[in-house]
């Protein structure tokens, strides 16, 4: 069996080794899950990879978080660049540097070189999101950071084990800069162990097949994926597709949407992306560096090739020009980038979905809800030792409507659908926050012929908390999750806070940090639904009736958004029926008038909103008007941009209107 092959492998050995590499990276994942400390990691915010001696990714975990895809080879290469020949058997390296291909500081990567017969043949690579890496706010997500210094410890490639001996001083330096050093050390340990699992398995393969064969397979598995990808691309029509999406605003400039531009070109077997013309970096931490922008492109593209394995072969088939240096999606040191996953990354990914929806209409999908992280951190006064607590929460939301199918309800974010939401019963044990609700938000799905999936809302009341602050990392309070092919937007993201003793909740927006909160304060926030697909007036009225029976859509909005008039037969039996005649009339009326609604004087719309005559959904879906949802103040420039967007994605696709 152990025949040494000098160059090309036979197809059987290649298939066997390819599958073995998949097994190895998945085995790493299993190891992490069983021993990690950070709940963020436990909820699957981690990834594993096997890289070749040059740092190229040979295989990435089949259940990995999307946002890490396409970045792990960059940090492996950073280690090689830093240490060169000074890499030895038994060494371990750590890195979390977004300016060297990392994602954000919380994503700490542990990298182990693998040697066979004294020769470096591979790296095993474990990336885990530590719950805290220091910085100015618990959880290390400081929205207001303009430079990275407020965001926690930056670890360039460093050696944490030297020929088999842990460098405890270096490890201490790292974990001492976090709020819970024992958890950080536990995670580091779990990750180091997972890279060891990969080493053991690679060496087993070397024993069996010979080192040269395994190394050749590293290369050929990448070639295989590149060949497969190029072949698929070659079968598609050539062409150029362009779109733009927006971040909410740049505080340095005041109101106004911040464009991210994405151009896709298919030319034979070549696939090119060009992101030039995107807005300069914003004065918050929502920028993304090249690595994570590349990840958004890879993850977005991969969604349209779900069965192609992920490795550097796939990345080689994709050419990316990120455009001008220091744009919002090509940020460089020391611009803050920790919130990239809610900002630039997210916009790139949804843009890529939209572009491919035109190339492959049979797999089309509208925009999905925005990744959101809500953080409440402080001291837990329920016990005498008042430990630090972090209520660190993210939600599911709605995915975009699809061609022939409603969007998925209540699904993890595009950031990674393997990211599991946390059980509130676990959170209540660990933190002085009592969850007030975790439920679906009616009407949150963007109206469309195929409705966007519905989002949810979750909130809490602080009980015995001390010195607590709240931060929120999200976006799309203004650049509302959009529909395509005539479909409408969903609802804005953003947190509402009602102080103890006050009657009304205040709107805090979709990005803020370090807001003081205390016992009795109640907060909540919705997640957006997905955007709609196709003209909502063409939705099957019976599907709307079903949605009403289950409360995904209210009777009122069935009429406003879909022009479908539903009569209640017996709510106690959840029986509703369609009023076909009035539906026809209503749909005709909307068809005749809706173009005009989108041109109504925006300030007048804002006024009607402030008077309580219109609600948020009316303003967005009917009038394309964007306001401060708390005060009702009009964002004039934003509205102008949003209306142009609505025209392009919705109104232009409507028949007879």
């Amino acid at each position: 069996m152990s025949t040494e092959t000098d160059y090309k492998l036979d197809p059987v050995t290649l298939e066997v080794l390819k599958n073995a590499f998949v097994t190895i990276v998945d085995e790493m994942a299993e190891q992490i899950l069983r021993t990690c400390h950070s709940f963020v990691i436990y909820c699957r915010d981690f990834s594993s990879a096997l890289c070749d001696a040059q740092g190229n990714t040979v295989m990435q975990g089949s259940q990995d978080i999307a946002v890490h895809v396409g970045t792990l080879h960059l940090t492996a290469k950073a280690v090689i660049e830093t240490f060169g020949e000074d890499i030895h058997e038994g060494d371990l390296f750590a890195i979390n540097d977004p300016y060297s291909g990392g994602t954000h500081f919380n994503d700490v990567r542990i990298i182990r070189p693998i040697f066979h017969d004294g020769e470096l043949i591979a790296f095993s690579h474990s990336n885990g999101h530590w719950a805290d890496v220091g910085g100015s706010v618990p959880g290390s997500f400081d929205v207001s950071a303009k430079e990275h210094f407020a965001e926690g410890i930056r670890i360039p490639a460093v050696r944490i084990a030297d020929r088999g001996t842990m460098r405890d001083d270096v490890v201490e330096l790292i974990v001492s800069n976090t709020r819970v050093p024992s958890d950080a050390k536990g995670d580091l340990r779990a990750q180091a162990e997972s890279t060891r699992v990969a080493e053991r398995e690679i060496l087993r393969l070397c024993e069996k097949y010979g080192g040269n064969t395994v190394v050749t397979a590293f290369e050929e598995v990448q070639d295989y994926v590149e060949r497969l990808t190029r072949k698929r691309i070659g079968e598609l029509p050539d062409g150029v597709w362009e779109t733009e999406d927006y971040l909410d605003f740049d505080p340095a400039e005041g109101e106004g949407l911040v464009p991210v531009k994405v151009k896709l070109e298919i030319d034979g077997e070549e696939l090119r992306y060009d992101l030039s013309g995107s807005h300069p970096a914003v004065a918050t931490f929502l920028n993304s560096s090249f690595g994570t922008t590349f990840s958004g492109i890879v993850g977005g593209t991969k969604t349209f090739f779900p069965d192609v394995p992920l490795n550097s072969g796939f990345y080689r088939a994709i050419e990316v020009d990120a455009g001008e240096e220091n744009s919002v999606i090509n940020a460089a040191w020391p611009v803050a980038v920790t919130g990239f996953c809610s900002g630039g990354y997210e916009k790139v990914t949804n843009s890529v979905y939209e572009l491919w929806s035109q190339v492959m209409p049979e797999r089309a999908m509208a925009c999905c809800f925005n990744l959101e992280y809500l953080l409440v951190g402080g001291r837990d006064a329920r016990t005498d030792d008042r430990p630090v607590f972090m209520w660190y929460d993210w939600m599911v939301g709605g995915w975009g409507g699809r061609n022939g199918k409603d969007g998925a309800n209540c699904t993890s974010p595009v950031f990674g659908v393997g990211l599991a939401v946390q059980p509130l019963e676990g959170q209540e044990r660990l933190t002085p926050v009592l969850t007030t609700a975790h439920q679906i938000v009616p009407d949150s799905g963007g109206p469309g012929r195929f409705r966007g999936g519905v989002g949810v809302s979750k909130g809490g009341r602080l009980t015995e908390a001390e010195d607590a602050v709240m931060s929120y990392c999200c976006d799309r309070a203004r650049s509302i999750t959009w529909g395509i092919e005539g479909g409408l937007p969903s609802i804005p993201h953003g947190v509402w806070l009602r102080r103890e003793g006050e009657d009304e909740a205040k709107f805090l927006g979709a990005t803020f940090s370090n807001v003081d909160v205390g016992p009795g304060d109640v907060f909540t926030r919705p997640s957006a639904g997905g955007g709609g697909f196709g003209d909502p007036l063409e939705r099957d009225p019976e599907a709307v009736v079903e949605d009403v029976a289950d409360g995904y859509v209210t009777i009122e909005r069935a009429c406003i958004d879909y022009g479908v008039v539903v009569n209640e037969v017996d709510a106690e039996l959840a029986e509703y029926e369609l009023d076909a005649d009035r539906t026809e009339q209503e749909r005709k009326r909307i068809r005749d008038e809706r173009a005009g609604w989108l041109k109504e004087d925006a300030e007048k719309v804002a006024e009607r909103y402030r008077d309580g005559e219109l609600d948020t959904m009316d303003a967005i879906r009917r009038h394309g008007v964007i306001l401060d949802w708390g005060t009702g103040e009009l964002f004039e420039r934003t509205t102008e941009q949003f209306r142009a967007m609505l025209k392009r994605r919705a109104a232009d696709h409507w028949n007879g209107g």
Partner: protein, 678 residues
């Protein structure tokens, strides 16, 4: 007297009858029916069973699994804490297919419109934050009656910490609703994490009337036909339960039957003196792999019938992969040779079946290599070698530039590698060294691949039971009554009062004894095992550590935890505090199990019935190998490969140099010498 096992599958109902005196095994197969009861009775008839002569009737059924998948159950509703009715729809949010945005998670078992909310709330410690609004519960009861709901799940937040509100709500619902089945989450599964607890409870609620009804109808029918014992139902945890327990815990019948193969392989390995065994059940379309360590099958609580809806009862861990005799070999777009998971199924089946199948399968490759003969089922079926060769040539050999025999070897090599990867997942990945295990191979196709897999995985011994095709059904006859009870109990190990833990265990054990007593298990046949789930403070997953009774101190338990953590994960953290998380009691009522017949060794040398040219190793020439009939091999027979052993439902492949021995239970044992012992 006889022992009877009836295993209802999707297509066939298998009946296995063991004569307790002679040890003879009789088998019958009838088509499964839409009311599975009819199939069971037809099978009993087909097998010629006199029910008054049956000592033990054991039953594995897909009734529960099918009901969940098809959503065919009576009108069901959920009553839950205000503002939390969507917990079971929100799930944990994840999707099993990470990249395919067109593949969705199945909808919840109870529609949103049938999920009702009432005001109530307790906190993490069980303190009441909002009182239960009893008038709201009565109002919900009125609506449920109006909607003609037949079964209700009551699921309140933090009910594991204080079940009082659930208990009271259930009481009111029972008062107001006659004949409606009411299930509470604190009764079904008093564990933390709302979605997991609610999901298990909801599955139990929707299954209760249906499965309970089926089981009691079957028990009645059997009794009328003369059966005097208890109907025993196989549950996912690898034990059986009586209809009495099914009434309360119908959800435990989900995935009934999947455990049977694991149980059978444990039993067979134990007969052969192996406490550690990997079971490999390879059929036509898939292979089920299970693992037994130190006499116990590996059990998991992380499973579901459908992705997203966990059922948190212990279930024997079985890994199923799409590799079987009928799995297709194919070349993908980038020129790589693949195997499965698509299968030619029973119709058209492999190309060599001559029923119009043109795609090459593992069966076709085995035929071409001479590993399979051209006759199957004792001459009952003829295989077409030319058709197999044509399929392999067209679809594999020509595209890869190989000759057909070499291509057939390649097909099998890829299939074996896939299976070996799967075995690695449940062994090496979990810290078990395959070299310490015996490989028990069964199912029609398993014995053809066993020796090669053992060599690949460095497993020293392969065991092929006497009737590979019905070994799985046989497993139903080899199990005990078993219940799994648990209670949340959390605290740091060095702060926990051992006396309190002892009391909690005593409570669980009392409940367990009562359950077994109600099922007629005499005291001397009751075995209770205690476990504490423990973890390092900060960790999320816990490891179960077995503890002695009575418990006097936690110190030895903590030490055992460190050791187990090191065995499973290769490291320990002596400096880190350890946490107690949950207490478990496993209650076993030993049943009188069927005994497999043993035979005296007969020293005679068996005579081959013929010879066949077989390619044992890809790239090597065919070797002429003797072919034995399994029925001709007496206990004590011993020889060395190369050889083939044909039997009605399977063929055993013995590579050159492998030593074969037939033991007193007529198992074939193969000793696999490893190429590299270093």
């Amino acid at each position: 007297m006889t022992s009877v096992a009836v295993d209802v599958g999707g297509t066939f109902t298998d009946v296995c009858v063991l004569d307790d005196d002679s040890g003879d095994i009789r088998v019958a197969k009838v088509p499964s029916t839409s009311d599975p009861l009819e199939g069971v009775l037809a099978g009993v008839e087909e097998a010629g069973i006199d029910l008054s002569d049956v000592r033990l009737f054991s039953h594995g059924t897909t009734v529960a699994t099918n009901a969940l998948i098809t959503r065919r159950f009576p009108p069901a509703a959920m009553v839950t804490t205000r503002d939390f009715r969507d917990v079971i729809e929100i799930r944990r949010g994840t999707r099993d297919d990470l990249w395919d945005a067109y593949k969705d998670v199945a909808p919840p078992y109870i529609r949103r419109r049938d999920r009702f909310e009432v005001t109530e709330r307790v906190d993490f410690a069980g303190e009441v934050v909002a009182e239960l609004a009893e008038d709201e519960v009565r109002e919900v009861a009125r609506l449920l009656k109006k909607r003609e709901i037949e079964t209700v799940a009551v699921c309140f937040i933090n009910a594991f910490a204080n079940p009082e509100h659930e208990r009271r709500a259930a009481e009111i619902l029972r008062e107001e609703l006659d004949g409606v089945s009411v299930t509470t989450s604190s009764e079904v599964l008093p564990e933390i994490f709302e979605h997991e607890r609610f999901s298990t409870t909801v599955a139990n609620a929707v299954l209760s009337p249906l499965v309970g009804g089926y089981v009691s109808r079957l028990a009645d029918e059997l009794e009328q036909r003369g059966y005097q014992g208890d109907l025993l139902l196989l549950h996912s945890g690898g034990g059986v339960m009586t209809p009495r327990t099914v009434e309360k815990l119908a959800v435990r019948l989900a995935a009934s039957g999947i455990a049977a193969g694991a149980i059978a392989s444990r039993h067979i390995a134990a007969l052969c003196g192996h406490e550690n065994a990997i079971g490999l059940d390879m059929g036509g379309t898939s292979t089920d792999i299970s693992l037994v360590y130190e006499g116990e099958p590996k059990v998991t609580k992380e499973w579901s019938v459908e992705y997203g809806y966990p059922i948190r009862f212990p279930s024997i861990e079985v890994l199923t992969i799409g590799a079987g005799g009928g799995s297709l070999a194919w070349i993908d777009e980038a020129g790589s040779l693949r195997n499965g998971p698509q299968s030619a199924g029973a119709d058209p089946g492999p190309a060599s079946y001559g029923r119009g199948g043109e795609a090459p399968t593992n069966t076709d490759a085995n035929l071409l290599l001479g590993r399979l003969g051209t006759e199957l089922i004792g001459g009952g079926m003829e295989l077409d070698r030319d058709a197999a060769e044509a399929a392999i040539r067209d679809k594999v050999a020509d595209p890869l530039g190989l000759d057909p025999i070499d291509a057939a070897g390649a097909v099998i090599e890829v299939a074996n590698a896939n299976m070996a990867d799967a075995v690695r997942l449940i062994s090496i990945r979990k810290g078990y060294d395959p070299r310490e295990f015996a490989l028990v191979v069964f199912g029609g196709a398993g014995p053809l691949h066993g020796a090669a897999l053992a060599r690949e995985l460095m497993i020293p011994t392969v065991i092929v039971p006497p009737n590979p095709g019905v070994t799985s059904a046989l497993g139903c006859l080899l199990v005990d009554v078993r219940h799994d009870l648990s209670e949340m109990y959390s605290g740091k190990a060095d702060e926990v009062d051992a006396g309190e833990v002892e009391e909690a265990f005593a409570r669980l054990e009392k409940d367990a004894r009562e359950m077994l007593d109600a099922e007629g298990i005499p005291e001397d046949r009751v075995r209770l095992t205690r476990e504490i789930d423990m973890r390092y403070v900060g960790q999320w997953r816990a490891l179960p550590i077995e503890v002695e009774a009575p418990l006097e101190s936690l110190d030895p338990v903590v030490e055992a935890f460190h050791a187990e953590h090191e065995r499973e994960h290769s490291y320990r953290r002596e400096d880190s505090p350890v946490e107690v998380y949950q207490l478990n009691v496993r209650a076993v009522g030993e049943t009188e199990k069927a005994e497999l017949p043993s035979h005296d060794a007969d020293g005679g040398d068996p005579e081959p019935t013929g010879r066949r040219k077989v390619v044992f190793q890809r790239g090597e020439d065919a070797v002429e190998a003797p072919v034995f009939a399994r029925d001709d091999l007496p206990a004590g027979a011993a020889f060395e490969g190369p050889a083939l052993i044909d039997q009605l439902d399977s063929t055993v492949l013995v590579p050159p140099g492998v030593k074969v021995e037939v033991d007193e239970w007529l198992n074939i044992r193969m000793q696999i010498e490893q190429e590299d012992e270093s």
